[in-house]
C-alpha cells in the first residue's frame, strides 16, 4: 500500500542563495526510501503537491533530507516552514536508481537542484564500496552547495556557467577530465541531460527527469515522456523519475 504521511520538520536552513535544506522526520518514509525517489509535498494554499527529491536518508534518526530552490510560491512557503511543523507527504514516490552493485566506479553528473538525489545515491554507492566521482554544475558561485559533502564521497569537480567558481562552463565541459567509470548517473535540466547523454553516448548511464506533475502517482498522465516514435511512453512520476539513458526521448 502507498502512503500519505505527516512528516515533522526538524530543521530548515538556507545553504546557498534561495536554496534550502530541510530535514523531515517520519519512520515509514525513512525506512522505505531509496535514492532517486521523491516526496510529493502539500503546501497550504496550493492545489497541486510539490515534488522534491530525497537528498539524504537517515534510517537511525528516521529522517529524510531534501534540498530545494525557491522558484515560486510553493517552494517559498515550504522554505518558511518552522521546525516542529507538520508537512503532508506522499511517498516515497517513483523508482530509485538501479545499478550493478559490483561495479567499480560511478560518475555522478548533476546540475543545480538536480544534484540532491545524486548525493543520496553517492552515499549509498560508497557504502557498497563503489568509487564515486562527481561533476556538479551551478549557474554561479552563490548557488554552489554540498561541494564539501561530495568531496567526502570522492573526486569532485565544480563548474559554474559564468566561471565565478570552479571551472567555467557546463557539466559536459569537464566530463573529459573525469577518467573512466562503469556507469554514470545524471540529473538536472533537460538541456543538460541531453548534452550529457549525447557526450557519454557509448557509456551505460541513468538519468533522472523533471516534469510538471498532476497526481504524482501515475494516474493522470500529466508527466509522460515519449519512449519511442510509435506512441510508446513512460510516466516520469511512477515509471521514473529515473530512467536508463536512451530509454526515453529527451
Amino acid at each position: 500500500m502507498k502512503k500519505r504521511v505527516e512528516m515533522i520538520v526538524k530543521s530548515v536552513s538556507e545553504i546557498a542563495l534561495d536554496t534550502f535544506e530541510m530535514t523531515l522526520e517520519n519512520a515509514f518514509t525513512a525506512k522505505a526510501a531509496v535514492p532517486g525517489q521523491f516526496l510529493h509535498l502539500l503546501v497550504d494554499g496550493h492545489t497541486l503537491r510539490r515534488p522534491i527529491s530525497i537528498a539524504d536518508i537517515n534510517r537511525e534518526k528516521e529522517t529524510i533530507t531534501i534540498l530545494f530552490k525557491q522558484i515560486g510560491d510553493g517552494t517559498k512557503r515550504l522554505a518558511s516552514f518552522q521546525s516542529g511543523m507538520k508537512v503532508s507527504a506522499i511517498g516515497p514516490g517513483g523508482n530509485g536508481f538501479r545499478y550493478d552493485a559490483s561495479m567499480a566506479t560511478a560518475l555522478l553528473a548533476g546540475g543545480g537542484v538536480g544534484i540532491p538525489p545524486l548525493y543520496c545515491l553517492g552515499k549509498e554507492l560508497r557504502k557498497n564500496g563503489i568509487q564515486v566521482k562527481a561533476v556538479l554544475g551551478f549557474q554561479t558561485e552563490n548557488l554552489v552547495f554540498y561541494e564539501e559533502k561530495f568531496r567526502q564521497l570522492g573526486e569532485t569537480y565544480v563548474v559554474t556557467d559564468d566561471g565565478s567558481y570552479g571551472y567555467q562552463g557546463f557539466v559536459t565541459d569537464v566530463l573529459d577530465q573525469t577518467g573512466n567509470f562503469d556507469h554514470y548517473f545524471s540529473c538536472g535540466p533537460i538541456p543538460m541531460l541531453r548534452a550529457v547523454t549525447n557526450k557519454l553516448g557509448n557509456d551505460s548511464g541513468s538519468i533522472s527527469l523533471e516534469e510538471r506533475l498532476g497526481c504524482g502517482v501515475g494516474a493522470c498522465l500529466a508527466c509522460v515522456i515519449p519512449a519511442d516514435s510509435e506512441g510508446g511512453y513512460r510516466k516520469i512520476c511512477s515509471d521514473g523519475p529515473v530512467f536508463a539513458a536512451g530509454e526515453v526521448m529527451l
Binding site: 502507498k2 500519505r4 498532476g214 497526481c215 500529466a222 508527466c223
Partner: protein, 304 residues
C-alpha cells in the same frame, strides 16, 4: 443509519461517490492507497477508437484554487482498455462507467459498441466536452444539434445507459441538457472543465504545450453548482455532479443543487484518499443537516 445508496439507470450504487474520469486512470494507482471496493462506482479515463498519445508536455498548470490540464485524451484505445483494464477493476465488484470519446460520430459509436459487448461495464459516460483535442470533443459539446446526434447514435448502438457529460463552455447549458435528454440520454454528467490558459512570464508563451487547458478544482465549483441547479429545474434525467468537490460538505452542496451522485476529480491529486474520506464523512454531514439519506437531499436546495 444514514442511507447512502443511490439507484440510477444501470447503476445501483452503495454510495454516491465516484472518482471522475481522467483523474483516476483505471484505478490501479489508487488501489495502492485503499481498497477500491469502497467506491460507489469508478469512471474510467476516456477511451477512443484507436490508441492516442495525447498532447506534448507540459500538460498541467496550477491556477488559483484549481488547475489546468491538457492531457489530450491519451489512452490505449477501447479494445486494450477492455482487455487490460476492465478486468482489474471488475475484481473490486464496483460499478464501472466507461468514458467514451472520439473525433467523429462514428468513433463515438465504435467505442460505445465495444463497451457494449464488454463484460462488467455498467454505463457509458459520453464525453462530448473534452476541450483539449483539436477536433471532436468540444464541438459536440457546444452545439445542441451535434450533441443530440451523437447521443442518439450512441444510444442506438448500445444497450448500456448513457450519461452525457456536458461542457460548461456554453452560453446555454439548459439548452444543451434538454437537447441530449430529448435524444435519449439516460443521465447527465456535469461539469467537464472550463477552458483556460496560463502564460509563463519568463518564456512569454502559454505554459501548456497545448496552449489552452481545462480548468478544474475548487475554483469552478460555483459554476458547476449554478449549472446543475439550472439544469435540474428543466430536465428529469438524473445528474452526476462534479467540479471542485473535495469534502463531504461539497458533495452535499451538489446534492442540494440537484445532483443524484457525485464525482471527484482534481481532489484526488492533493489527497489520494479524497473519495473514501468523503464516503466516510457523508453520513455525519447528511445527519448534521437533517437528512437521513442521500436521496432525501437531492434537489433540496430548490424552492418548493
Amino acid at each position: 443509519m444514514t442511507q447512502l445508496t443511490v439507484d440510477l439507470p444501470g447503476l445501483m450504487l452503495k454510495n454516491p461517490v465516484m472518482p471522475a474520469s481522467g483523474c483516476f486512470g483505471f484505478g490501479r494507482e489508487y488501489s495502492e492507497f485503499y481498497d477500491l471496493k469502497q467506491l460507489g462506482a469508478v469512471i474510467m479515463k476516456a477511451a477512443t477508437g484507436e490508441p492516442r498519445y495525447g498532447n506534448k508536455t507540459p500538460r498541467v498548470a496550477e491556477t488559483p484554487s484549481g488547475m489546468l490540464n491538457a492531457i489530450g485524451l491519451q489512452n490505449p484505445g477501447a479494445e486494450k482498455i477492455i482487455v487490460n483494464e476492465v478486468p482489474f477493476l471488475a475484481e473490486y465488484n464496483v460499478p464501472i462507467i466507461a468514458n467514451v470519446a472520439g473525433s467523429t460520430v462514428e468513433e463515438y459509436v465504435k467505442v460505445a459498441s465495444l463497451f457494449n459487448n464488454a463484460d462488467s461495464v455498467n454505463a457509458l459516460e459520453l464525453n462530448i466536452s473534452c476541450p483539449n483535442v483539436k477536433e471532436g470533443g468540444i464541438q459536440f459539446g457546444t452545439d445542441p444539434d451535434m450533441a443530440a446526434e451523437v447521443t442518439e447514435k450512441v444510444k442506438a448502438s448500445s444497450h448500456l445507459p448513457v450519461y452525457v457529460k456536458l461542457s460548461p463552455n456554453v452560453s446555454d447549458i439548459v439548452g444543451m441538457a434538454k437537447a441530449v435528454e430529448a435524444a435519449g440520454a439516460d443521465g447527465l454528467s456535469m461539469i467537464n472543465t472550463i477552458t483556460g490558459m496560463q502564460i509563463n512570464l519568463s518564456s512569454r508563451r502559454p505554459l501548456l504545450a497545448n496552449k489552452t487547458g481545462g480548468m478544474s478544482g475548487g475554483a469552478i465549483k460555483p459554476i458547476a453548482i449554478r449549472m446543475i441547479y439550472e439544469v435540474k429545474q428543466q430536465v428529469s434525467i438524473p445528474i452526476i455532479g462534479m467540479g471542485g468537490i473535495s469534502t463531504a460538505e461539497d458533495a452535499l452542496e451538489f446534492l442540494l443543487a440537484g445532483a443524484s451522485a457525485i464525482a471527484v476529480g482534481t481532489a484526488n491529486f492533493q489527497n489520494p484518499y479524497a473519495c473514501p474520506e468523503i464516503i466516510d464523512n457523508l453520513p455525519h454531514v447528511l445527519q448534521q443537516h437533517g437528512f437521513d439519506s442521500v436521496t432525501d437531499a437531492v434537489g433540496k436546495g430548490h424552492e418548493r
